[in-house]
Symmetry: D2
Subunit: 417 residues, 4 copies
């Protein structure tokens, strides 16, 4: 062969050509390709077929996508009659063969399809994206919940805590990751690279993220931390351009002031609890000067709840707002007895306690709208996490500092009665 | 606190203490801990509990281990009657709720247990080890096949091709990994570090391995490659201490002369086909001078088969041995029509063809015992892989060079008739 | 010792304390510390002393700095009479002892001082900074050129090509390095991070920099490259926000459109020639589709020269401007016979040839001011580099394409005659 | 061009061809090439020429090498008469021009040659090797000391402490580096990879090395450390295959039991003091449990000295040997007043003190031969390093524990009187 690259070219042509692909151009629909992938014996060929399918899915029209999800949901569903029959058989004769047959029948084929799609390079991120799309479709077509049930089952297994990697995000992190941090920040917007620099570079700032090995450039969740003397009472103070920084060694408190989930396709798979605990563990190991671990958290449901209680528009006095906030966090409950406020539910379920509430603490438009500017510190006191979790889980008890309880009592007695 | 490390100490004490652990010392059996882990709501606590269980499992007595496997196999099995009932219900009313209920019921709880155990640091390797142990137990207690069915199902999902990482093994690889390569080599023993160096360091040698991100120091499978001019006809020539090496750029052939699976706990999960194809792809991209990709493979079942055919002990003439070997590879079949020889089955199922057979090719004790010293080259001709796979899969056709077929005909006509 | 960190604290206190440091607070001047460093026998102590001196130098007042440079220039100069005497002695008796004595005497002590200062961590960057300061002082005090002579002598030795490392700058490079790229760009300003992203991230863009191992976060010089089809005739086209990118494999030309030196303290130590040649070498090895390597360069002295020739303000016709530019590049010479234009001198001395001149090529304010918007492509034709270098070096011959020579002839004949 | 690699091939051909190389085959001698390199204006061409010269030097015959060194020593020496003249001129008129002229004249051209040779990739290691060869030649031809003076001057500048990198050597270090550690160990031979593993892998063992960025695979010096409870009294105990290891956290002492210089070409450039101090600093920062830093050192000159004192062959009683050893270390002096023993000189000059002496401490053949099996601990007490250095440097005072002094007195009073 005169051209030295010819064999390489031939090779990739051939490895890329698949028996079923001849008619890919027009004939073979995505659904047919999926059936072929499920039938494929060779992993190497399967890998190629998976790539083709994912490429197609990426560029699909809205209509074709709906068709594809319908296909997953119905054609790749279980055969319930067969499952029932095999279950009865295994009940009578609990042999390995009967068990295997039942196992196979009771797992929808779409699960195997997802696993096989995942053989392609970069597929895991595509499947996370696919679920993100699926979640939008479900709003129109709730029946697709079955397919989501299977996909989330797999993703939960793949994004198991044991596979996650904690990495510190610093000003030395690749820009390609940092631009995602900017995009994903969901609590206190990062307005530009200078703003990001102020959150990463000073010696009293930290940021940590979980990554999955198959998506090494794309964080799953991250938390921003300020190292402070004492507990800060406003986000303005934390994020101010002109604040005076301190040496990390002079801090006694670590403040978790922002936690953002990054992947809408992983909704319902929780990483936050593990992330906070891991960061508390690492920081206290490396910096014995840190004595307290608190959050500076929004109270997203306060305004709405106040309005529902007949307390509208007019901004209360700062001290009154603190009472309202304490009352809301301690006493406003869902039918199941857990707090209405989702952020409160998250931290209390992790074992934290309500430590302080602050007014004039978030003067951004969003902050004023959602909570009249109030914020709250949840305290992660490692000696009480376990008992708090149990009391909250089993008895709906909300752990709180005495001062917060007092504030709440004032509010419930007076103004909101 | 006067001692600056005190908070850190306290922290790890507390995070390490778990409500259920008080009685770990004597009371709580591993089985009870497993039930607690399945009931655990907090992932962070679950992670700790998982660590405790894995620690215990590691040091378990033979007797306790049997008990533990029995627990997994029976107590954490499915409730078949319930599955049958829920399946009938879903058949009638295919709602999301009924689907979820059936899904939950039809997956044995041990699968969820394995997933939760995997939250602990280093757990994946431990679960691979657990399966290795389980496989030994199964020989005594075949019924444990059900538990194995579930464990291998999970491991197959976790060790999905999409999660594997190909790395070249060189003389610059950490010694901690290289000592495992020495230990895992299963085809042609690596006798010492000098021998290893001869297989990695010269410019005409390569070694590649698949790794899983959760076991970054421990290869899953590796292949050793010699870059040669022409196809070698003996393993002695390839491994000789005194062989004259060549420049990589002067080679026209890549010879896969040893492929070793490393993890007995991953038996039945095949990586070899993907590994070979990936290495072929990478090598031909980087080295356009390579025109042929062949193996130099053992024929492990030849002697046994010859004996079973009434041809024993006395070593045949070289040329006769080549005829026997060709005949064996082409014509000795299992009841299902596939070749008896397991190495042949592997490469033929990958799409390779039988290219040449050699006598006097492996003069080691093992080589002489298993095949009278005969070896075989399987050729990976990328333009024929797909059609070979189909023909082998569907029609049991064995692809072979004309010369090999001729050899086989001589043997079948004459001596072995 | 009750406090487990006490030994560590004691240790760093002690290692940090130096016999001569007792009076650092007020007494010991920087000059005295330098004399002590020159007398120091222990490298470990010297390292500490060096750190102290560098710390002091960093925060020095303008006045003290002048004093320090004067100290270097006079007190640490050679003893010329002694050198003369030892030289005569060595002339008569060329023994090793006489040679050593002469060597020692003829190297100013400040060189040894610089070497000893460089023992401190991070000292190399500090010394580069020191030279930058020295270069400003020299304008006032030309006599300091002696100290500069010695410092640049050392820096040239330390920043020897053999120690430099070429690294590609990409969108995956740490932000801490990227912000320096933004700051150092000296040819076509990078206005913000988006602009930077457009120069690094698209598949048809490249950026390479030289680094020194002692300053791993701080580039010495970098070049920005566009991969194009054909030779671009304007910088606007190259930098446009809305340009249509191409696949790297579809390019046939690599355009070096910006080269920036980063360290004013390394002025006079040239890295540009080596950088371009190395990038040409690497790109043509990795991308055989690239057939031409050209620059798209400014003509910084054109306007000034036109004015000096009595051709002022009014912008000529595009075609006329091209003639002027060609004429200027080919014919405007310094007294030594080399071109007036510094960019032309640089590329011609490297062996490049003047390939094309363009009008309307740089419509930025700077571009219009310095050259009426004209730019030039210098071609790096690897088959002619050596002969071009020789002809330029020895005979002041300027290599240029025929068309450029024709353009120049028109200009010289007519308007500028 | 039909062949896509053709440009690349052409390029490397051309970049590799140099005008002066045409006659390299037979004509141009190494000396001529060196003169050309000194005349070369382009760094890129110089880099290539440097490579050619180094290639030639590597394969040179003994005879040619002698000729090359003679050339360096005489033809590239200074012109002493010119230096004398320029020095007188600078004395009279201390202008920058006169200074520069003198500077240039007083540095032998071979220094510039060495710097230019160093432009080639990998040249630094070659120049270190060149000096190693030079040092052997000097034994025959002491006059070459002049060339060595210049080469070591440059190497000392390039291997400045500020450029060195400390790296821990572990069992995860690349095998290519580990095999060098095995080869370079000069104190207590590493017999094979298992022996090496025992020195690196256990939790109570450490090894650290200095590297230079231009020789990243080749250590300059390394030290082996044992973490122990109490101070060990024999090397057998430290290196025993069957010793019981301890947790690193349980150790209170770090024992430096072997320090090896790796590069004979860097003889006379001392790294040991810096290495020990840096390791002491790092270990005490990371492990506050370590209270003592001692060596376990050989006494290489003891036997020879005893013999010179009329005490030969017959092995003394252990306790007597300890007295002799203490006496030798404290009292056996060179004419300049410093100890005869080179290891003692090294540690005492670093500020260590003689802490304990042991008999039966090194029962290897080498140990018995050189010191009758005696060894010594030098203690690095950070609170006394500075004062010890001064006392040793200025007053030849040898710091030693009281018990060691007592031992020495017994010896000097009695047996050796």
């Amino acid at each position: 062969m005169s051209n030295p690259n010819a064999l390489g070219d031939l090779l990739s042509t051939l490895l890329d050509r698949h028996p079923f692909q001849k008619n890919n151009g027009k004939g073979g629909s995505v659904n047919e390709l999926c059936m072929q992938l499920l039938a494929e014996k060779s992993e190497a060929s399967g890998q190629h077929l998976a790539t083709s399918i994912l490429n197609r899915l990426r560029d699909q029209s809205q209509e074709n996508r709906a068709e594809f999800f319908a296909f997953l949901n119905t054609q790749l569903d279980i055969d319930a009659a067969l499952v029932a029959k095999l279950a009865r058989q295994y009940e009578k004769f609990p042999t390995l063969e009967n068990f295997s047959a039942l196992s196979r029948a009771s797992e929808p084929q779409r699960q195997e399809l997802f696993r096989r799609l995942n053989q392609a390079p970069g597929a895991t991120a595509e499947l996370v994206q696919l679920r993100s799309t699926l979640l939008s479709e479900i709003k129109e077509e709730p029946d697709l919940g079955r397919t989501d049930h299977d996909l989330v089952h797999l993703l939960r297994s793949w994004f198991n805590r044991g596979f996650l990697v904690l990495r510190q995000i610093t000003w030395d992190t690749p820009a390609s990751i940092l631009e995602r941090i900017i995009a994903y920040e969901a609590v206190h917007e990062i307005t530009n690279w200078e703003d990001l620099r102020r959150r990463l570079h000073p010696p009293d700032r930290r940021c940590y993220a979980f990554f999955h090995p198959s998506m090494p450039d794309d964080p799953l969740i991250f938390v921003e931390v300020a190292l402070t003397k004492g507990i800060p009472n406003s986000i303005q103070g934390v994020l101010s351009e002109n604040r005076a920084g301190i040496d990390a060694g002079a801090a006694n408190t670590a403040v978790f002031y922002s936690i953002s989930n990054c992947q809408s396709g992983l909704a319902g798979i929780s990483f936050g609890n593990s992330l906070i605990k891991q960061v508390v563990r690492d920081l206290s190991r490396d910096m014995p000067n840190l004595k307290k671990f608190v959050t500076l958290s929004p109270i997203p449901g306060l305004t709405r709840w106040l309005e529902s209680e007949g307390r509208t528009a007019i901004l209360p006095e700062p001290q009154t707002l603190r009472q309202y906030a304490a009352h809301y966090l301690l006493d406003a409950k869902k039918p199941d007895g857990k707090p209405i406020d989702p952020v409160a539910r998250f931290h209390l379920a992790n074992g934290a306690l309500i430590h302080q509430v602050h007014s004039l603490a978030d003067l951004s438009e969003k902050g004023l709208l959602q909570s009249g500017g109030a914020m709250v510190n949840y305290l992660y006191d490692v000696s009480k996490l376990t008992s708090n979790v149990e009391a909250f889980d089993q008895k709906n008890e909300v752990a709180a500092a005495a001062a917060v309880k007092t504030l709440a009592r004032y509010a419930s007695k007076s103004s909101l009665a």
